[in-house]
Symmetry: C2
Subunit: 183 residues, 2 copies
């Protein structure tokens, strides 16, 4: 029931590719590129992308926005017949929201060893003390989902290094200038 690729179904790659489109849109807005979609009866009913910086809201993760959009579409907070696809392993907040929404199945792309709460740090979808558990599959389009994140953080590091170098250059010039002006 719970494990990588043991319960993958035919349309998983298709819907994950739509979630990846959302992640790409997030990247183009300089947000950490994570995307999510909600599917019910094999129909896509909601999309979401990480918009934390854009919205300046701590809860604006891709999964949260997709779940809220799905609930709005279904006119119900109970999403018992739905599957959530997300490119990155959900964090504690998002797994909590998935459990609150009674999502039936979760499919995610790549693991998040630092904050993931489905496999990496916790296994919250399997806790039988809670009033809901759900099926989980992961590893769908894993290298694409991980790749878009790796590229984003590589660019971010590169930009930060360039800014630091420019600042260092200006500081050196200023120091030389101040030395040259000493009488």
């Amino acid at each position: 029931m719970f494990g990588q690729n043991c319960n993958v179904i035919a349309e998983d790659e298709f819907f994950m590719s739509v979630a990846l489109e959302e992640a790409t849109k997030a990247a183009s807005l300089k947000e950490v590129p994570v995307g999510a979609v909600v599917v019910c009866d094999k129909k896509l009913i909601a999309r979401g992308k990480n918009e934390r910086e854009e919205m300046q809201t701590p809860t604006a993760h891709a999964e949260m926005l997709a779940l809220q959009a799905a609930a709005s579409f279904q006119k119900s907070w109970r999403l018992e017949e739905c599957t959530l696809y997300v490119t990155l392993e959900p964090c504690i907040m998002c797994v909590g929201a998935i459990l609150q929404a009674r999502i039936r199945r979760l499919v995610f792309g790549c693991l998040d060893p630092k904050a993931g709460a489905v496999r990496s740090l916790y296994r919250l979808c399997e806790d039988t003390r809670l009033n809901h558990q759900l099926d989980v599959a992961h590893g769908i389009l894993e290298s694409d989902c991980a790749g878009i994140l790796a590229e984003f953080f590589s660019c971010l590091r590169e930009t930060k290094r360039a800014v630091k170098e420019r600042r260092g250059g200006r500081a050196r010039l200023k120091a030389l200038d101040s030395k040259s002006s000493v009488p």
Copy 2:
């Protein structure tokens, strides 16, 4: 650092009483009565009450709405200088959001043995593997916070029993009626 009443400060009871006002508003809307407020520099900057049924959104817990309102007020998703007061121990989703928002301090009223993720089922505010930890105090106006929930669920059970009895009564009348019409 972490424990009941070991780090209570003077204004905790006042701000918890405001959170209780929010819980009372929720009860009047037939929502599970939980209320929350966000405080920064001893000033109240946001309020929230449970609105899951009203909004039909799985994420519309009191803490989530208070955090979103606080971020909107501060124009930043980082609420590093803020304290969150909530009448009931937060669930997994809400603790996740508290961590995402980098809340400095959490104060809650009563424990939630079935779903609480700060003391009862998990101790997520203390996990040093995550990129944020925070101070926690609980037991503030505990009996009031628990009392409003107990009263709500007692009324709910009473209403359900009355509905069941009325249905049973109608079914018995129907059965009698159908017997009396047998030739």
